[in-house]
């Protein structure tokens, strides 16, 4: 009997020690003079972020930054639970700008407002307008942009020379020019346009056509003639074999010199570099050659402050000091293929030699960067990522595709908890 009691006590102590040690970890993480910084940079860009943080820590700040990179899905799953628990909340967090509105409504964010007066350089004039604008919601600032990442279009220099020699004269490649090039190139088994990530391809075109995701900020307005026209354009190009086909890997086509134009994220540049083709970059495919009507789908990584039960003023000031330092030292981030949101970078000669820099090179290009900021963007993104090219590849009709998209997002919005 005594032995059993001892066994029981041992088991119980093991459990207790497990929980106590877990709790101790949290305490340690929070008590040091350290800014715990969560971000989703686990790919090659994670190396650049670590490098950037190391550079900052070498300046001997009072609060050093501790980099914690998590896979994106894990990070977004953890945020609500960790804020809810009130324990182990990071001092600084990176989120995609489209999340901010929803996070504010869910009470997950603290505003920067009480601290910004002490950092006068963290202001709109010093950032790309589109990235800065979307960090503010209902009159309060919740996000300070790190970057504005865009999908643009890679092109094969040799193939452009052969099939579309004048398409790039104005740095705007229209769908018409792509179609003309495709008609010539398909005889040689060359695809003109790779169908890559559907969400930015669709939204860029929808935006160019004047389509809106919502009118009242709540209810979606996707199922309309404009969206039908946008999908139909891609469908027609696919049927004419101008674009890549179902089952084809557009990346492989481009890297093996069998595709002329390849719309993809600027963050893919390092991967494309590994290929052996001569390539350049330009804007996303446009329906008009008017530069003022250009749309390049964009998003932005934003620094946010997750809600904390007891926010330390000193630590928050130190956090903003780091954000301000990044504003002036974002070349390392640009080296990851990204476009920093801080306009200070545009004065850096090394940056201006980078391929993606053309997107920030003038006001017209900057204005083309469009963030589709809809509070319920997450639901839309999930639909577009799951059903992707089903209408373009004729697996369903365009009408059914759009009706389902509209109903899905509407029902999900209606099913949410009241604010």
């Amino acid at each position: 009997m005594k032995k059993l009691r001892v066994l029981f006590m041992l088991t119980f102590s093991l459990f207790l020690s497990f929980f106590i040690s877990s709790k101790t970890d949290f305490v340690h993480a929070a008590s040091n003079k350290q800014i715990v910084f969560w971000n989703p940079f686990t790919g090659p860009d994670g190396t650049n972020m670590q490098k950037l943080i190391n550079q900052y820590n070498k300046t001997n700040p009072e609060y050093k930054v501790k980099n914690v990179s998590l896979t994106e899905s894990d990070m977004y799953s953890k945020i609500p639970t960790i804020v809810n628990s009130g324990k182990g909340i990071p001092d600084l967090q990176i989120v995609h700008v489209e999340r901010i509105k929803d996070y504010v409504h869910n009470g997950l964010l603290d505003s920067y407002d009480p601290y910004l007066s002490q950092f006068p350089q963290i202001k709109g004039k010093n950032y790309v307008p589109e990235a800065w604008k979307n960090g503010k919601y209902e009159g309060h600032r919740y996000g300070v942009p790190l970057d504005i990442h865009t999908t643009f279009m890679y092109y094969n220099k040799d193939l452009v020379k052969k099939y579309a020699p004048h398409a790039l004269d104005d740095n705007i490649v229209t769908f018409k020019e792509i179609e003309e090039a495709g008609k010539k190139s398909q005889k040689d088994g060359i695809t003109a346009l790779g169908l890559t990530w559907w969400k930015p391809l669709f939204l860029s075109l929808y935006g160019q056509m004047g389509g809106k995701l919502t009118k009242d900020g709540r209810n979606p307005t996707f199922n309309n003639a404009t969206s039908k026209k946008a999908i139909n354009l891609y469908k027609r190009l696919r049927e004419e074999k101008i674009t890549s086909q179902d089952g084809q890997d557009p990346m492989q086509l481009f890297l093996t010199g069998k595709d002329i134009f390849f719309p993809e994220g600027i963050w893919m540049n390092n991967q494309i570099k590994e290929g052996k083709i001569k390539y350049g970059v330009t804007n996303m495919p446009q329906i008009s050659s008017n530069p003022n009507k250009m749309v390049n789908w964009s998003s932005s990584h934003q620094f946010v402050l997750l809600k904390q039960p007891k926010r330390s003023k000193a630590k928050t000031k130190a956090t903003l000091k780091f954000i301000n330092w990044v504003r002036l030292h974002s070349l390392t981030w640009a080296e990851a293929g990204q476009n920093p949101a801080s306009l200070a970078i545009t004065k850096n000669a090394k940056y201006n030699n980078m391929q993606q820099s053309f997107l920030l090179s003038n006001k017209t290009e900057q204005n083309s960067l469009t963030i589709f900021d809809y509070r319920y963007n997450g639901y839309l993104a999930d639909y577009l990522d799951r059903y992707a090219y089903d209408a373009v590849f004729n697996k369903t009709s365009i009408s059914k595709y759009l009706k389902k998209m509209q109903n899905t997002v509407q029902d999900e919005v209606d099913a949410q908890m009241a604010d």
Binding site: M1, T11, N84, N106, D246, D249, M417
Partner: protein, 308 residues
């Protein structure tokens, strides 16, 4: 010397006392306690909490709002997208169970029977068949998506085909079933091998003397002898396949046009998608899936029970 005798007597008394002490009613509880703690933390409490959440609206952040049966009404009787998600997701899940479970039982059984004849390199093949069970679903999907790749996959290249295997039906289901059977052969095969080893050789010798065919021996000796193991594997395999998630998520992404979207994918997306969590609706769907699995398992147990 006297001291030594006293010590020996004392030790004997202690042993006798210990042998004679009757276990109290709480005695078994001490043995069960470690398991009960783990069972409660990782199963019982989440189960009860999950059922409670199914009666609420909850975004994983704020306090859940109790809404009674609203979630169930929404997914069972309304015209909403959630009703579609439940019905189509459940149908796709059942379809997958019907397509995959027979193969997940028959293929390992045949392999186990073949290995039981102690063929040349039998141990090597046993290891080879078991190996996929050790891989993660991500690794398995990567391997098979390369095999089914329409551009450079060996399947299309060898047979000069131009088939988009994961993008058209019925091939999308076929790829998922093949992958699943390949991945899960090992577990059931080992159970059958252990069961086959336990069958007395006398039965087969007697059958040989009566001139029974191999098929006849398989039907009348082998299968009845491993009835218990068959019942166990049928029930556990069915439960496992009802919980299908990783294969369609990574191989077909639920396509083409949502035709391989299974219920677990919808449950996961509603609770942990990119938008605000709809955890209440997801939990209600999960409860319905749980009820379906329980009912199917009970029916299987009833039909396959030992009538003797």
């Amino acid at each position: 010397m006297e001291d030594m005798l006293n010590t020996a007597k004392t030790a004997e008394n202690v042993r006798t006392k210990s042998r004679n002490s009757k276990p109290t009613k709480s005695h078994p509880l001490y043995y069960l306690l470690p398991h009960l703690i783990i069972f409660s933390i990782f199963f019982l409490i989440p189960l009860v909490f999950g059922i409670y959440v199914s009666f609420t609206k909850w975004d994983l952040v704020r306090t859940p709002d109790f809404v009674g049966l609203e979630n169930y009404k929404n997914i069972l009787f309304s015209n909403s997208i959630f009703h579609d998600q439940l019905t189509s997701g459940l149908w796709h899940t059942i379809l997958f169970v019907l397509l995959s479970v027979p193969f997940c039982i028959v293929v390992p059984l045949l392999l186990a029977v073949a290995l039981n004849t102690k063929p040349f390199l039998g141990k090597f093949f046993q290891g080879l068949f078991y190996l996929p069970s050790l891989f993660s679903i991500s690794a398995v999907v990567i391997v098979w998506s390369l095999i089914f790749n329409p551009n450079y996959g060996p399947l299309n290249t060898l047979f000069h085909l131009n088939q988009v295997w994961t993008g058209t039906q019925p091939w999308a289901w076929m790829t998922i079933v093949i992958l699943t059977v390949w991945w899960t052969i090992g577990g059931n095969m080992i159970i059958y091998q252990a069961a086959l080893n336990g069958i007395s050789k006398d039965y087969y010798e007697a059958a040989d003397m009566d001139g029974a065919s191999s098929w006849s021996k398989f039907i009348h000796i082998t299968l009845p002898s491993i009835r218990g193991q068959l019942l166990y594997t049928i029930v556990t395999t069915t439960i496992a396949q009802f919980n299908i998630y990783g294969q369609p998520l990574m191989l077909t992404n639920g396509g083409p046009n949502g035709s391989t979207s299974v219920l677990m994918m919808n449950i996961q997306q509603n609770a942990f998608g990119s938008g605000q969590s709809l955890a209440g609706l997801s939990s209600a769907m999960a409860v319905i899936l749980g009820i379906c699995i329980t009912v199917v398992s009970m029916v299987q147990l009833y039909l396959l029970r030992d009538k003797d």
